[in-house]
């Protein structure tokens, strides 16, 4: 036993180190690294915004986002989008004659940190409104706290339907998951004029099943025919059996609502079993890894997404130019949604008769035909954005904007 103990310890140490990696902050954002060094929650200074000024001539907003951890790229994009919107609003004179400021907390990509940060924002900082987060699991943890405290919360990009079902103070400016099923059904019928589509869904993912259900129902209602519904499980790498069964039904396209890691391989194997038809999918495809995994096989396929930087709309192009000037990169969908969420919040604060929780909540709920860069936003009675989605075509190493589909 003398020799066993150190060996097991070493193995455990490596194992622990491997696990630790997932929760360690990525050294990519100002807020993230600051939090990492101090090892506790500290308000991160908004880039370019300086210290958050105190006093009654300032309206203080709160933001909780994943500035470190596994979802850090999402959180940082969102923060930059929000920051840009606030700077623009302040340059235009602020809201009700007051300047806007935001206090940002890092949730380290963890729901429990998100909940704690929300509590801190409502009890200590007494913010009028909370923005965040991207991941639905974090937003769910936040929503409960915000609802209890009676502080309105807007999530830029959490698509799980449950988030806004938490209560009447919770809103979102993105569409919910099942909507994409409808978008693709409409696009397949109206634009691609497809009659027969096969479905290949991920049986382990609620996202995939939700999209499939709506797609199947809408596509059939619009006069199309679903030839067969096959399934796979997240993490599979051999889809030939399902694709062979699909091939027999001779579809015009295959709907694959999954994540890029599986879709790329499915595309290759579909070509291999002789399926030359395009694949259709949702925002889970949106990753640069898709091109590597799918190679030339994925080219010519379509997926629905929140936003496209190729959208010729002038307000989208202006946003992209401003964002580039401020941060030096092309904004992704999450930055666009962060920007939209902040602008919806600012507009609501402007309309609200005072800055109390119920007044702001009612003002947000009345948001209608708001011109966001990621689509026009109208909030329905369930506090979800009813808005258009874009359809992108997969090209050689990049996506091409095809069209916008309205609800």
């Amino acid at each position: 036993m003398r020799r066993l103990a150190p060996m097991l310890l070493a193995a455990l140490a490596v194992f622990a180190a491997a696990c630790e990696k997932k929760t360690q902050p990525a050294p990519s954002g100002e807020g993230g690294s600051q939090t990492a060094q101090q090892g506790q929650q500290k308000p991160a200074t908004p880039p370019g915004g300086g210290e958050v000024p105190a006093g009654s001539d300032v309206i203080l907003l709160g933001e909780v986002g994943a500035l470190s951890g596994g979802q850090a790229t999402f959180g940082i994009s969102t923060r930059d989008g929000i920051d840009l919107a606030l700077k623009e609003a302040n340059a235009a004179g602020g809201v009700k004659g007051k300047k806007l400021a935001v206090r940002v907390y890092d949730n380290q990509s963890k729901p429990e940190e998100a909940a704690q940060a929300t509590t801190r924002l409502v009890t200590q900082d007494k913010v009028v409104l909370i923005l965040g987060d991207v991941a639905s699991s974090n937003s769910l943890a936040m929503a409960e706290k915000a609802q209890t405290a009676g502080v309105p919360m807007i999530t830029p990009s959490s698509t799980n339907p449950k988030v806004t079902e938490t209560g009447d103070y919770i809103f979102r400016v993105c569409f919910i998951d099942p909507f994409q099923g409808f978008v693709m059904a409409k696009f397949a019928r109206a634009n691609l004029k497809l009659n027969k589509v096969a479905v290949l869904q991920d049986n382990k993912s609620a996202y995939s099943i939700g999209l499939t259900d709506v797609f199947t129902r809408k596509f059939t209602e619009m006069g199309g025919k679903i030839t067969t519904t096959e399934s796979f499980s997240q993490g599979d790498t051999d889809y030939r059996a399902q694709l062979t069964a699909i091939r027999k039904t001779q579809p015009d396209a295959i709907y694959v609502p999954g994540y890029y890691s599986e879709v790329g391989v499915i595309a290759r194997q579909a070509r291999e079993v002789g399926l030359r038809v395009p694949l259709l999918g949702g925002d889970g495809w949106d990753s640069s890894k898709l091109f590597e995994l799918g190679g030339s096989a994925i080219q010519g396929s379509y997926f629905s997404n929140h936003y496209s930087p190729d959208n010729p709309d002038p307000k989208v192009q202006k946003f992209i130019a401003d964002y580039k000037a401020a941060y030096g990169s092309v904004p992704d969908a999450l930055a666009a949604l962060g920007y939209d969420a902040a602008r919806v919040a600012i507009a609501a604060l402007e309309r609200a008769k005072d800055l109390s929780g119920p007044a702001v909540r009612d003002a947000i709920a009345q948001t209608k035909d708001f011109p966001g860069v990621a689509g026009t936003i109208t909030l329905d009675d369930k506090h979800n954005a009813v808005k258009s989605a874009v359809v992108l075509k997969v090209g050689d190493g990049k996506t091409e904007y095809v069209t916008t589909v309205n609800p």
Partner: protein, 306 residues
């Protein structure tokens, strides 16, 4: 009918890869009575060695015969070394300890490799899946009807390699001096040592051989399914272990037959039922075999001396 034939071909192609991995389990178990749970992860490391070699060679050299041979050689030699190191530093110190201790270490090594490879530092690949380059350019070799049944070159190649390796191993174990030493060590390694057999060397060579096989199998798997990730070894390794047990662990042809049966069962379940059922049916089949024939399809049940 055509669909049945296609499923049969796909199932055999998947089964041959399981077979090559299962042979490694069976060899190590045959000699040491140790289930090397790190075997699948050694396979994964082999795949990443092949991945790195393929990129170092560049596109043109890659799909040439020399290039492919080089990729296999680097991965198999590299894994042989890895197998040697694992045996030397993780298993040999525990050889006289209760068997459970070595099993726990094996699981430790497995986690150390699969999670260690998810780190994103230096040469380590990070957690995202990657596309394995097409080192064997896929070609359709046999086409029946209007592409009703298609047989691919890599399917035939990996099937032939598996058969050759199986026959070779069987020859090695039963017709060579090294094989005789392996069998003697398997019987009782203390007595074998007294008879002048260098047991440490035999065991080390067995590990190196099984690890090299794993690397070869992993490359065929990567060529087949193109997506590689640090956790792939866990999944393939478990399936191959099941195949080895179905065939009768420690039995070389048994491992191959068990793997082919498992590959076919899985393919038919996915093709005619749903993928959700695949693992349930595979493990249900394992339980059934163990109930009816506790030693596996080919194994004999030896009374354990207590």
């Amino acid at each position: 009918m055509a669909q049945l034939l296609q499923h049969l071909i796909n199932g055999l192609a998947a089964g041959t890869i399981y077979a090559l991995v299962a042979l490694g389990y069976t060899m190590v178990y045959g000699v040491l009575k140790l289930i090397n749970f790190a075997h699948g992860d050694v396979m994964m490391v082999g795949v990443y060695m092949g991945y790195a070699t393929a990129f170092a060679l560049g596109r043109e050299v890659r799909s040439s015969l020399v290039g492919v041979a080089l990729i296999f050689a680097v991965a198999m030699l590299g894994c042989a070394l890895l197998g040697f190191l694992i045996e030397r530093f993780a298993y040999r110190p525990l050889r006289e300890k209760p068997r459970l201790t070595a099993l726990i270490t094996a699981i430790g090594i497995s986690f150390a490799l699969s999670y260690g490879f998810q780190l994103d530092i230096g040469f380590l690949p990070g957690a995202s899946p990657r596309a394995f380059p097409e080192v064997i350019e896929p070609r359709e070799w046999i086409i029946i009807g209007d592409r009703d049944v298609v047989v691919w070159n890599w399917q035939v190649i990996s099937f032939l390699i598996a058969v050759v390796l199986m026959v070779g191993l069987q020859y090695l174990v039963f017709r060579t001096r090294f094989g005789r030493a392996m069998r003697a060590v398997s019987w009782d390694h203390r007595v074998a040592a007294l008879m002048g057999i260098p047991t440490d060397r035999v065991i080390a060579l067995t590990f190196m051989l099984s690890s090299a096989l794993a690397a070869g199998a992993g490359l065929l798997y990567a060529i087949k399914d193109t997506s590689v990730s640090p956790l792939m070894g866990l999944y393939v390794g478990l399936k191959a272990f099941v195949a080895a047990v179905i065939g009768g662990i420690g039995h070389v042809p048994g491992a191959v037959v068990g793997a082919l049966v498992l590959g076919l069962v899985e393919e038919f379940v996915v093709g005619y039922a749903a993928s959700t059922w695949r693992d349930a049916v595979a493990f249900g089949f394992l339980i059934l075999v163990l109930l009816v024939k506790p030693g596996g399809l080919f194994g004999r049940v030896a009374a354990e001396k207590v």
